[in-house]
Subunit: 548 residues, 2 copies
């Protein structure tokens, strides 16, 4: 099976065209000499968790932000990296496939080789299992050729997506030492980067010289915070599937079915016997009673109760709900959990459950003469896996490739437990700002959550939709219109050439998240005015109103 | 509801770009004057049915092929159309949505207006229901502007897709007479064009002066014959979904499940716990026992038996099979038939039925120690509706637009019961050959079929895959490799710009279907050599070996 990895592949005509595309680099990364400027020490984004996080990460907490500048930049304190010893770097895909993953490997490879042809990039084949078992593939130009700008994680594969247990951490460390790795680059989402931060801490504590660098790549679009404007993959997804709606008002599944029935009926009353309902993959977790049921099942999973015996060990309340659900949902709820400890959400056909509940209710209303529209018939589509293997958009090709370069500069600067970052993404590549932030600075501590294991433990958590934000406000304002009118928008297929190829995710412009850039701007300004306290406050307030 | 039709729509950026695309015209259609050359009288493609067809279509059977040539073409017998009176034309979408439908309307409109600005094109809103109820929308430049090169049938909509019963035919005729239509253009697939031919015959018989013209537009790719190389829509579909496999060896559903299990097991034996199985939408109809069951259900539908009572009226044999099937399939089998009299094939989740049967069998093999791979878990995707609303490919934009022009020339020539055709499609637009063929010449007579109503009745039938053809032969040769290797091909998203935008369906080149062109070539040659019988045979044989 390993022999499949990294072999040249026959590509379709469009894939061949894409393989020839060469992303550009921002000015700060052009040439071999790069300056690193460090900011102040970071803290936790939520002060409430700072103490817990600092105690859990004594070696890697509180490190400064890093900014990469061009060699000619006039910054007196910046460190110039001008020596390029031979280095050995390992890279691993950790987490489910996302467009852009291959380009991170490519960018990292190009940056490594540009600085020393004798340096080596080893890809772990088969994901984390390969990392634990020291199974590697040396990345070369030949190997990369049919994977450039391509979708999926076929070059190296992925498996368990977890570096968490003591055995796993020890195996990873043994590998890094055996292969004499100067750095390990982890390509993944929130869970994988949390694991990466833990690995960095353990390596530092145990004097393992390998530095750990994270790169934000995930399909979910939920790895964003004050340092990360957006993860790689999200731009492609926005052009492939339609979007996501949030359900946060703690309705029961029956309330939800009733609301849908009301909408169907209201549309039928104005002659519209059609409509589209978007249901987010993780909806079941937002529904209180299902959430509680999933938690119980998950607890029994962790206790080692076999799938066959779980239903008999549920609480009476949970049993009642479980027995009420259609057999297909019962079966899906019992599936083994994913790498991030959540249930196999993508395997729970929420849409079918809702369709069934809505159909029964509409039929009841029809018999009672309340509903007067046509017979209700739901057609369900599931898009959960459809975009994972997509060719990455031009934006994601560029973003991932440049992030690959940035991750090289992070490890070349000897930084440990950092995530490579790029900000000002809404502008063209030549305006992008490159840097790195300690992963611990992105962590929060949850006081409640779906898995008891997560409570009290610092982690990078998925970003949730801001219910006070402008985007959500606009959505609410247009709710009635969305419900009763026919407001569809067809983004069309992903374009690589022509005017459609350069469009970017709208939220990049609406939500200006260039916190790194603003922090840097503020710092420069403060340097100039010699830290006058009064001005500091004024500027902060100005920045707050102007940008946030 | 009617007010929705033809209103300007807000388009996405890519849709806006596409709306600006202007398809070209082949030289024969440029300028206002076009020559029409007629070939010999046509007959039926299958001589066995000729007698039945000629009797069913006494007024429209046996008409000659028509070829449209540029005004300067040196063809002595060609008719030059140089007068352009004001005409009134109706156009109706008949059949399910297919990319390209809007461009036929656009092309037809441009051609009509280019020949006389005072001529009028009326679109029937709401499909055939609009045709029966005389609900029209006058097509204008403004109305067309946001529908050019766009997917779906939103401009005019569609409904019943049937013009078949005496009431329907009479209603259509009443509309054509009330609106003083010189011609009615029907945009649709095999069923709609069969209806169109019947309508043409009835109009001719009853001295209704409206001419009926068909345009081959359907998603299925099954409207092809010696006159029609390919229908509009197929090129887009080939770029959006993956393809279709044929199952013609009359296996039972259980044989099929066993074969899939064997494949799963064979792959697991070489360490491959993954695989993709493509299942065509209509597979259930190819499985003898399910086919027989569907026929019985369909018969009861036609007798007016209500859905609730059908299961109790099945034969003992059919009852046994019906009761064995999972509830969701039972429910789906009872759904009302589609416009073309087949069951709601797209609503029968064959993939889920097979997944369930395969899972049971694999679990049995697992327990008995025959299967040693990982636990079997099927993820089903249904792509049946996904491409219907797709933006049409560049090819389909061009093809549909030019066909719209051709349909104008067909009606301007006063032809009735013809389908607009373009051949040599594998070449660029400027090499395309335009013509028209009587729909009756595409008809065959079935001696058996899923619906007793179809037996003995002339119709244009869907093209089936040629099991003796080169394409299928290639597939068989590679069967083992497809079964055990990982041969995936990702065509990538539909491109409108750049090198990927001009690719065409492979089968257009593999299966050279330019029969119209060859007939014309032969005719020209025969004219030159004065019909020497010996040479005729030699040329025929040469053409047969060389092109077919």
């Amino acid at each position: 099976m390993d022999s499949d990895y990294g072999i040249p592949r026959e590509l379709s005509p469009l894939q061949k065209e894409r393989a020839l595309y060469q992303p550009g680099l921002p000015p700060c990364l052009q040439g071999t000499t790069v300056r690193v400027e460090y900011g102040d020490a970071t803290t936790a984004s939520d002060p409430a968790g700072a103490h817990v996080i600092s105690r859990a990460f004594p070696h890697t907490y509180g490190q400064p932000l890093a900014h990469f500048l061009r060699a000619t930049a006039k910054v007196p304190d910046a460190q110039i990296i001008s020596e390029f010893p031979i280095i050995r770097v390992g890279v691993v895909f950790c987490g489910r496939q996302s467009p852009g993953g291959h380009n991170v490997v490519w960018g990292l490879y190009d940056a490594i080789k540009a600085h020393n042809r004798k340096s080596v990039l080893l890809g772990f084949v088969g994901g984390t299992e390969g990392l634990f078992a020291q199974k590697t593939l040396e990345i070369t130009d030949d190997i990369l050729s049919s994977y450039k700008n391509q979708g999926g994680y076929d070059l190296l594969g992925r498996t368990k997506d977890q570096i968490r247990t003591t055995e796993q951490v020890n195996a990873a460390m043994a590998t890094c030492q055996a292969l004499k790795l100067d750095a390990l680059v982890i390509i993944g989402g929130v869970t994988s980067n949390t694991d990466g931060a833990q690995l960095a801490e353990t390596f530092a504590e145990q004097n393992c010289s390998t530095k750990v660098v994270g790169v934000p790549v995930t399909l979910n679009g939920d790895l964003k915070n004050q340092f990360v404007e957006m993860n790689v993959g999200f731009d492609t997804i926005c052009k492939v599937i339609l979007g996501e709606e949030v359900a946060a008002s703690k309705l029961t599944i029956f309330d939800l079915a009733q609301q849908i029935c009301d909408a169907v009926q209201a549309r039928a009353d104005i002659g519209k016997n059609h409509g589209v309902i978007l249901i987010p993959e993780g909806l079941v977790e937002s529904i209180p009673e299902l959430y509680a049921l999933i938690q119980e099942i998950h607890g029994l999973h962790l206790k080692g109760v076999s799938v066959e015996n779980i239903s008999s060990q549920l609480s009476p309340w949970a049993t009642a709900l479980f027995e009420f659900l259609p057999p297909f949902i019962r079966k899906q709820l019992l599936l083994h959990p994913e790498s991030d400890d959540s249930a196999q959400l993508s395997q729970i056909e929420t849409e079918k459950l809702l369709a069934q509940l809505v159909e029964s209710e509409i039929n009841r209303r029809l018999k009672e003469g309340i509903y007067k529209g046509k017979k209700f018939n739901a057609i369900c589509h599931f898009f959960g896996y459809q975009a994972r293997g997509s060719l990455p958009s031009k934006f994601d090709c560029d973003y991932a490739y440049v992030l690959g370069h940035v991750s090289y500069h992070v490890l070349a600067a000897g930084l440990n437990g950092y995530m490579a970052t790029i900000t000002n993404l809404k502008s063209p590549v030549n305006k992008w700002k490159c840097g790195a932030a300690p992963i611990t600075a992105m962590m929060t501590v949850k006081t409640r959550g779906p898995s008891s294991r997560q409570i009290g433990k610092p982690a990078v958590h998925p970003a949730t939709i801001d219910l006070k934000g402008r985007a959500y406000e606009l959505l609410r304002e247009n709710a009635t219109s969305c419900l009763l009118d026919d407001i569809y928008r067809n983004p069309g297929p992903l374009q690589f050439d022509g005017p459609g190829a350069d469009s970017k995710v709208v939220s990049l412009s609406v939500e200006d998240r260039d916190y790194m850039g603003r922090i840097k701007l503020l710092q420069e300004y403060l340097d100039k005015v010699n830290s006058q306290c009064y001005l500091y406050l004024v500027i902060l307030l100005f920045l707050y109103y102007h940008f946030l």
